[in-house]
Structures are given as C-alpha cells and as structure tokens.
C-alpha cells in the first residue's frame, strides 16, 4: 500500500513536474530550510513553499483548499542580480508552465499567478526574486489526502 501523501504535497509535486517539463535546467528544491543555502552548482534554481487555507465547500460534501505557493528563484552570480533577466525568465516560464494546464491533469480547480517581486532583502552576489501562485482544489470532506478532481476523479 502506498504511503499516504497530503493533498497539498500532491499538488506541489504536480507543479514541480509541470515546471520541469518546460525548464529542465531550473532545479526545484522543496523542503529546503534557510539553514541550507543554495550555492554554486544549484543555480538557476528555486525554493518552493506553501500555505493552505481549508473551508467546508458550499454543498458541504468536500473541503475547499486555497493554497498559496511561493517560489524564490535564484539566478546565481549574474551581472544584474535581484530580479534580473535570468530570474524574470524563470518566473515567466513557471507562470506559463502552470497556465498551460491550469488543472494540472484534472487535479485542480484552477491555478493562477498572483504576482512577482524582487526579494526583500536581496544580495549583490545572488540574483533572487519571488513569485506567488494561488491554487484551488477540493478534497474529500474531513480528509486532507484524497483530492476530488474534475468530473469527480479521485487522486488518492
């Protein structure tokens, strides 16, 4: 029997998979703490984090999940640093990759970029910028693992 996986982790994996199809050179790092800095050989890359709000759906049969995914992209040692061209392209590619199929294979209700900005603080030696993306999806009521996708398809 497969290990149970939280619904939001399934969404995160689908997001990272969709990005990897478009930008195989852009490495994603989940579960990366600030005590584990990115360094030479890991750029260009992004660190991904999320927060989720849960609500009972209007028909009371499912949980509505409103997840905010935050990407911090790092370009490494570039001329411009901050929100430089490399990071801007990474943010654009991530946004386009997620918009190409905003249901991520029928799993999500929708996914939309919220906005991007320079990192605050930034660094003269490492270009970095932030992108936020909002994903909405449903899970079975009182269940935070099984996603109820389009047409009632379950993602257990």
């Amino acid at each position: 029997m497969p290990e149970p996986v939280a619904a939001v982790r399934k969404v995160q994996a689908a997001i990272m998979g969709a990005i990897a199809v478009v930008r195989s050179d852009l490495t994603g790092y989940a579960d990366r703490s600030t005590a584990e800095p990115l360094s030479d050989g890991e750029w260009p890359g992004y660190v991904i984090r999320y927060e989720v709000k849960f609500n009972l759906s209007p028909e009371l049969g499912q949980f509505f999940n409103d997840a905010l995914f935050t990407f911090e992209v790092q370009s490494g040692n570039t001329a411009g640093a901050s929100l430089d061209q490399i990071n801007q392209q990474a943010i654009t590619d991530i946004s386009n990759a997620l918009q190409a199929d905003p249901t991520l294979g029928g799993m999500l209700e929708d996914i939309q970029p919220v906005g991007s900005d320079n990192s605050q603080p930034d660094s003269a030696d490492v270009g970095s910028a932030v992108l936020q993306v909002r994903a909405t999806y449903y899970t079975l009521v009182r269940n935070h693992e099984v996603i109820v996708g389009h047409g009632g398809q379950l993602f257990p």
Binding site: T34, P37, L38, S39, Q74, N77, S123, D125
Partner: protein
C-alpha cells in the same frame, strides 16, 4: 634616545607584511596595464539571507595600499585572484580601513569578463 612610536612605522609595517604575508593578486585600473602585487585578501564565503531562502556566495575582502593606489578604486577596475582562476571581479563598497593607509573593499563578480 627617543623611543620610536608605532605611528611613524605603521605604513612600513603594512607594506612589509604585504610583501611577506600577502596573497598575489592582479589589479587593473581602467587606464593602466594589469599590476601584479601581494596584499591581504580574505577569500571567505558568506550566507546571504534572501526573502525566504538563503544562498552562499563569495564575500571576498581585499586591502590595497594607498601609497601604491592613490586613486580610490571603483567598479571599472578589474581584479583577478589566482586561487579563483577564470573569474574576474570588480570592487564594490570601497572604504578606507581603520588605519587610514589602505583601501578596503568587497568585490562583485563580472560574468563573462
């Protein structure tokens, strides 16, 4: 016989310690040929705090004797370090050090230079 004081010898102490203890680097002001010399260089890295991730990058600190370089270095200068072959750096945050005899600055890498 008057006792020698440290102040009158500080400059010489710095130049001697550069010659004996310094690292060889190459400094190229924009209107000059590259100058190879020995000086104190810290080759350290540092962790940079970003918005919610971190990155490790160079935090090199270089000192240059004002006697050899009366003009304050700026971002048009180019510096190469033998321990970091193939990389070219430009000064940033150029300050006078505690003694007043030396320029003290970090560097920014110049990609593709």
């Amino acid at each position: 016989m008057p006792l020698p004081d440290l102040e009158s010898r500080t400059d010489m102490l710095f130049s001697k310690s550069d010659q004996l203890l310094g690292d060889t680097i190459t400094v190229k002001p924009p209107s000059s040929a590259p100058i190879a010399l020995k000086t104190h260089v810290s080759h350290r890295d540092k962790t940079r705090m970003l918005d919610f991730s971190t990155a490790t990058a160079q935090d090199i600190l270089i000192e240059l004797d004002k006697v050899l370089f009366p003009t304050k270095p700026n971002s048009t200068w180019r510096i190469t370090l033998p321990r970091l072959p193939g990389r070219v750096f430009a000064p940033r945050e150029v300050n006078t050090d505690d003694s007043g005899f030396r320029w003290e600055f970090g560097v920014t890498e110049v990609p593709g230079a």
